[in-house]
Amino acid sequence: MSSEDKFDCIVVGAGPSGIAAAYTMAKAGLNVIVLERGSFPGAKNLFGGVLFTTILDQLVPSFWEEAPVERHVISRRFCYLTKESQVGVDLMSQKYAEAPFNNSFIVLRSKFDQWFAQKAEGAGVQMLTGVIVDDFVCKDGKIIGIKARGEQEGLYDELYADVVICAEGANSMLAEKAGMRKGKSLMSSHNRSTAVKEIIRLPEEVINDRFHLAGKEGTAIEYFGDAAGGMLGSGFIYTNKDSISVGVGCEIGDLIENKTRLYDQLDYFKSHPAVRNLVRGGETVEYSTHMIPEDSYGAMPQLYTDGLMLVGDCGGFINSSIFHEVTNLAMASGMYAAETVIDAKRRGDYSAQTLSLYKTKLEESFVFQDMRYFKKFFHFIQNNRAFLTQYPTLAVEMMIDLFTVTQASKKQIRNKLIIKFMKQVNIFKLMLDMAKAAWVAV
C-alpha cells in the first residue's frame, strides 16, 4: 500500500451528508476523498424539494448569497384531501421572508449538490466521480478501506483510509454488506417509502400569480389522505423558480398491498380538483423516483464500528413527522461524524470506542432528541389507520356539510351532523384511539 492511496477518510457518496462531512474534515486539514458513482455530484441525487439549512448556514455562513437556491419558503400549506374536497392549514409569515429565511429553501439537487461539492473541493477535498464502491476492505475485523469496481469484471481497485464514512443514501447496500443493518433494521417494505416526482415547467410569472408569491418567495404544500389514495404517504408541490416539483410518496408495504402503481397515483393526484388548477398548462420536463428511509429511532442501523460510520439516509436519519427536515439531519450527521474523525485522528485511534463520540454528539443535538420524540408517531399511524383516513375524512365531510348553504336551519344541520357522526364512529373506539394518540403525543 503506497502512502498516496491512503487517506485520513474516504467518504462514499456526494450528497448533503457526505459533502458536509468531507467539507468539515478538509477545513480541519484532513486528507479526504469523496467517491461518487454519478458522473457529477448530484447526478443521481433527488428529494422532494425543501432543504433545511441550520447546519449548512453554520458550515457556509449566508450560503444563500452564492448557492443555487430556487426560492426561499415563505409559506407552507398542509392539506387533507377527500375525493372531491380539501381542508387545509395555510401558514405564511413575513418573518420567513427575511434572512435566514426560516432556514428553508427550495432547491434542485442536481444543481445544489454540485455547488456544495465545489465548496468542499475549494477546501481541499478530492472529489472523484464515476466510482462504484461495491465493498469494504477489512483487516483483522476492522474496515480499512473500500473496493471500487475496476475496468475489468471481477477486479477491484482498493483505496485505504483510517476511517470510511458511508453516505450512499437510502438504498444502503454497503451498510447491509458491512453488517450494520441486520434484523429489524434491514431495508424492508415497512421501513422504506418510495416517491415519484415530476418537474413541471411553468413561467415564473405564472407560478408567482398562481401561488401568491413575488420575487424569490416560494411555497411548500403537502397533501394527505386521498393524495396517497388513503395509503401511508403524501403528495406534494414545491415551487421552483420556473417550474414546480409535483410528486407522491407511499410506504412500499402499502403500495404492494394495494397493488397501486406510483405513477398512476401521481396522475390521480395531479387530476384532483384541488390540484389540477395548480399544475394546469405546465410541461413535464423530468420524471424521477427515490426511496426514502422510514427507519424509526428504536430500529436504526448500527451507526459506527471499527473504521466505519454511517451518515444521512444511509444511517436512517429521518424525522418521521410533518416537519421532515431530513436534509438538515443529513448534514448534521455528516458534520458530527467528521468532528468525530478529527478527534480520532488527534488520538490516533479509530476504534469503535473512539468513534462512539459520534453517537454522543447525536444524542446531545436536535438530531436524536427529535428522532426520539417522534419515534412513536410513524408506528402509531401505521397501526392506527383510522387516523390516516376515517377520522380526517369524516371531519372534512362534516365541515363541508356545515358550510353547505341550504334553507335548513343551522340547528337542523347541527343535529344532522351529530347523527352522521354517531352513525359512522364507534364512540368507545374513538375515545380509546384518542387516549392512545394523547399517549403518543406526550
Binding site: 443521481k44 442536481s110 461495491d134 424492508s188 418510495t194 405564472v206 403500495l255 420536463v285 423530468e286 424521477s288
Partner: protein
Amino acid sequence: MTVDMKDYLKEPKKLSLDDRLYLVTRNLSKKSHIEVDQAKFKKDPLKSVLTICPAKVYEEHEENGECKVNFENRLECGTCQVAGREYVKWKNPDSGFGMSLKNG
C-alpha cells in the same frame, strides 16, 4: 407581464410512463446489473416487483411466466430490491452508465 396567461389554462397533456421515462438522460450499458431468480419469482404469490417498480423495469412474460427485466428503464431507486429481496439481485450500473438528473 410578458407571458400570456391564456397559454397556461389548458389541461396538462396526459403522459404515458414511456413518455416520462423518455425524459430522463441515460447512458445505457450493454449489460444488465439486475438479476432475477426466476424459480423464486414464479413462487411469489404477490409478484410485487411488477407493480412496485416506478419505471416498469419488471414485466411478466406472457407465455413462460418468467420475469423480464427492462433494465434500460431503470431509475436506480432500489425499491425492487427491498420489495423483491428474495429474488432480485441489484447492483449499481458501471461507472459512467445509468441515469443522470438535470434537475433532481
